[in-house]
Symmetry: C2
Subunit: 218 residues, 2 copies
DNA sequence: GAACGACCATACAGTACTGTACGGACATGG
DNA sequence: CCATGTCCGTACAGTACTGTATGGTCGTTC
């Protein structure tokens, strides 16, 4: 209220929120104008058309949730700490709940496809490098990165669609990180199927949260 | 062509295909009629309205991809074999690629929510029972089930959106099962995921509102 | 062979959205 | 004071979809 002028960012984030709820089709200029308490006249001042809004919104998502995140992690030298920090941030309270599942679900949309492709490539490449830095052989690092990223995506899906059924996924920060660490440690181990020459990742525990969350009653 | 009469099933599967491509909004009677080379007159003979189609299609999905699957697995007595069979079927060639991500992405839709809730509950409960049969303690079985299901969902997401970037996810049958077995075997070892407290404080304390409901409902 | 019911095509109003045209408010600076 | 640029509201055509009404086309049945 009492907000005199809308910025393109306002429309952009509103578009992402709408997309998280109802997919690309829910990003309607009409609906967003109503939500922002403005009219379509304002929108068409800031954007050429609806496609331009979609493009801008998705590129903002790419910038905030991938590019900026990776840059932020560049300061940390220890790969182990970097991994933990990555998960802590990525599994932290989402800015917009359900956005990633919505974007993936519309992977074929012309406005989504190129951005999603860049994001997926970059994230998996980053994860692969990270596991390589942790001492895994290239093939293992790659496999590990894919599996970890799949688990992460599924985690977000459950958080979006089954928060009440699977309350575990609502956890943020260290607790959520600890939960997914299981996946990581499990996968980091060379399997019996394809034994690979590598000094197996230390079975030492991953960084644990301050309070152990679940080592209690069984 | 040369197909004289359309059945409700024809409309139903066409609806699921459309949903897999473009979400709920893509399920338009107009578009489906064009795809089936019919007119909307035919549709409104078989269905009361569009909502009835959505409901029928989603219930068919529930029946085919959850209820029937679990029944099919009932024959197998050995839990280990049952788990492998489950993954082999679930990761097999999808009938409709990208359907699950699309459904999850519209979890709030009134036609989707109840079905998705039932499916998620049932699948996780089945997985939990299965891991319990494999000898895991209740809390571990539950945690294992959630992690496995998350990895499965993410796997499907990657298969939908990143087949070219991550060709691993295109694998079906035994190969895909072997890939995900890493998750299973890694996690199934009870001795491995013992997390001892470490000094490394998490970068951001992060309010952790979610209690650990680990004791499970039994 | 006529009547009936299942199935489908066509035509119509109603709705929600997009994009554009245009005009108004409002501040700033010469 | 008014001139200009920024930002927004309103009005209008165009499009795509839904739901209904209505009539047509078959095969079946007695």
């Amino acid at each position: 209220m009492a907000r005199r002028h809308l910025t393109p960012q306002d429309w952009s984030t509103a578009a992402l929120r709408a997309m998280a709820r109802g997919g690309v089709a829910a990003v309607s200029v009409n609906a967003l104008a109503g939500e922002l308490e403005a009219t379509r006249g304002s929108f068409y001042w800031h954007f050429k058309d609806r496609d331009a809004l979609l493009k801008a919104a998705l590129e903002a998502w790419e910038r905030d949730d991938t590019t900026a995140l990776i840059e932020e992690l560049g300061d940390i030298t220890d790969p182990r700490q970097r991994l933990t920090a990555l998960f802590t941030i990525a599994l932290g309270q989402e800015d917009i709940n359900g956005l990633e599942p919505a974007i993936v679900a519309h992977a074929d949309h012309p406005a989504v496809a190129p951005v999603l492709r860049r994001v997926t490539e970059r994230r998996i490449a980053y994860l692969t490098d990270l596991y390589t830095d942790l001492g895994l052989a290239p093939a293992s690092a790659r496999r590990q990165a894919v599996a970890t990223y799949a688990a992460f995506l599924g985690w977000l899906e459950l958080r979006r669609s089954a928060r009440d059924i699977v309350p575990e996924v609502a956890a943020t920060g260290a607790i959520a990180t600890a939960a997914l660490e299981h996946l990581i440690t499990g996968l980091a181990r060379p399997s019996m199927h394809q034994a690979e020459p590598e000094q197996s990742a230390p079975p030492s525990p991953m960084a644990a949260p301050a309070r152990e969350p679940e080592t209690g009653q069984h």
